[in-house]
Symmetry: C2
Subunit: 393 residues, 2 copies
């Protein structure tokens, strides 16, 4: 009798617990993000609604220069480490799902338009490797062969419409398109002689133009993906002509492109300027003098402001450019080693990594006031799940 | 003894069930969406990765002309019904959280940049009401007063940066900005004499320009939100000049704006054309003849294609415009009453409601082939959670 009674309670309670547990753990994934903690090889999962930390996860290897892309359902982040590690993280459960070391020295990655493929750009061995986003099994290996069987470092890897990946060969001066629309054996299109030492690339927000920055030359290389038959064109040729380039302590990043009001805002290389280029005719519109060698120049999602950070030794400053007047409206000094910034998708907040103070600061972009700061161990990159719905990031 | 043993099993099993239930029910919310089933006052929750239905929910009242916005975490959809009903739906749990009837006759809504406020545009009583997105308690009532204490229908309600809502007064020919950045008592800025009978409005993807379509005049009214002091300007004035307007069986929609390659693509009113306007100087660039009076002209997220549906009696056709050549590359006849289309955020799929066949069709936008179709009861609007990360929708 008593046993029967206990069994009834048991059934009732387990049903209750099962359903309440499921509701308690349920949460949307639209306001989540990953903060890279580079020195400890760990990450934080954060949320931007109440601005709190949800999880700490460690064991991700060497995370210097790490970046992240997200699955189309925004549940999983794919973390690309410097040591060639590719780690799939469940941002809702706060745990590592799988980790592979796919190369010796890697520099970022991308996820295909359909979300099925994750590509990694490698310095060592030079080339791009492509993985199934479910299993992390390798489905394609694209060695960046040039000249007499040499392998180039690959840079500026982005995704593009039609399940394509685009990247450039630093040592070879080439841009390649790998088209995965028909199968996992990609169709490769190569563009040669694009310029000397492409060091990074970007795709415009409409995913039409691919632009590679050149370290060895005074200009950039542009490919119109609607008209690949027209080849790669030089833009902003000689933008620093006749002037001695300043020393470059850190390469600028182009993947943090800034498109605003029909213009692109690009960090100049070897100059303390942000270059403004028209996205309709690719001519220089203006150049805005800034505090130092810019590293990231990032547009608020509505294009009204550009936030800029700088290379060593001037990396303790953050500047805000007003796009309408093309002038600096605010200079912050949050601390040494401001490594990265990320806007919330509708632009009301910006999250800023201040490595040497071990904090991530959050600003209101309308008032330019600090809202809060969160402790983080040597924070570098900040990546929000909203990236899942954008191309070329 | 046996009781103790049963209790131990009980504790062990409940723990196990609680944790397994939580993982089983956990899912990302980035690939979800809501399909409106207008005749039955019900909705479906779907996902776009495997293209399946997850839930049916009914009891949402009159859903003719219904639309949806999403919370910033993408867990909740706010469904605006024609009968003034505002229903908060948990898209992960598949259930209604709360429902209020806030007006007598409503026409769409918007969510503030910070996600805290949901605004509803009302025909009856004319004006905008604003609700706390957590509780659905009303926090502000903005009657659209004009003339001698009359109330205007409000149309073209959108959100804008700085926690603003913008809308137009159909009967008064005005555009109003309601600024909620300082408090829930909005600062209202009114623009009078913008033109006769604004019937809908849009905000450009960069959230800089607000454009109202005019039913009573041959042109549109444009406001530069970076320079509100310059007032509202007429654009495309007399675009149908000297020609007898064709009968308008259904008003075109502007909130399905299409911006591509620096141009806006707008459905003309009373003409069988899509108008192309430069977003830099607001002059007409081209007009593209189409099958009938366009209702929605929507750009694939990369701006390479515009998909257009049409008003009764030509509403059984769907056309695809190639933006590069500005010509029609495909005409589909999926069935009568094609009421709405929605792209996945990175543009690889488009979902299309075919009301009279009781299906939603899904197309691959690269091959233009149908991937699948899902049964739905008189489907109309389709709204994906990725809208949460975009302004002005």
């Amino acid at each position: 009798m008593i046993v029967k009674y206990i069994i009834r309670i048991f059934i009732f309670t387990t049903t209750l617990i099962a359903s309440s547990a499921s509701f308690a753990d349920m949460r949307g994934s639209g306001d989540l993000g990953i903060i890279i903690e580079r020195a400890s090889g760990s990450i934080q999962i954060i949320e931007t609604t109440n601005r709190t930390k949800l999880f700490n996860i460690d064991g991700l290897g060497d995370l210097s220069h790490a970046s992240v892309v997200f699955s189309r359902d925004q549940r999983y982040g794919f973390v690309f480490g410097r040591d060639g590690g590719l780690t799939k993280v469940d941002v809702l459960a706060g745990k590592i799902v799988k980790r592979v070391v796919q190369g010796g020295n890697a520099i970022g990655g991308a996820i295909s338009q359909d979300g099925k493929l994750v590509a990694v750009s490698n310095y060592e061995p030079g080339g791009v490797r492509v993985f199934d986003s479910q299993t992390l099994e390798m489905v394609a290996d694209i060695p960046a062969k040039y000249g007499n069987g040499l392998l180039s470092k690959t840079v500026g890897l982005v995704d593009a419409p039609g399940n394509k990946f685009i990247f450039s060969l630093y040592d070879a001066g080439e841009t390649w398109i790998a088209d995965f629309s028909a199968s996992n054996t990609p169709k490769i299109t190569k563009f040669k002689d694009i310029g000397d030492q492409p060091y990074d690339g970007l795709i415009t927000p409409d995913a039409r133009y691919y632009v590679a920055g050149l370290f060895g030359e005074d200009g950039l290389a542009m490919l119109d993906l609607w008209h690949p038959e027209k080849g790669v064109k030089r833009i902003l040729d000689g933008y620093g002509r006749g002037e001695e380039p300043l020393p470059v302590y850190k390469m600028p990043h182009l993947e943090g492109w800034a498109a605003a009001g029909g213009n692109l805002f690009l960090p100049a290389i070897g100059r303390h300027e942000v270059l403004v280029v028209s996205a309709s005719n690719w001519k220089e519109v203006a150049r805005i003098p800034v505090h130092g060698q810019p590293v990231f120049a990032m547009a608020r999602p509505d294009g009204r402001q550009i936030w800029v950070n700088f290379a060593h030794p001037k990396n303790d400053v953050l500047q805000v450019i007003d796009v309408d007047s093309m002038s600096i409206i605010k200079t912050f000094k949050p601390g040494r080693a401001i490594l990265h910034m990320e806007f919330t998708p509708r632009g009301e907040q910006i999250w800023v990594s201040v490595r040497d103070r071990n904090v991530v600061e959050v600003y209101d972009t309308e008032t330019l006031k600090k809202i809060t700061e969160l402790p983080a161990n040597t924070p570098s990159g900040i990546f929000l799940t909203a990236r899942a719905s954008r191309m070329g990031l």
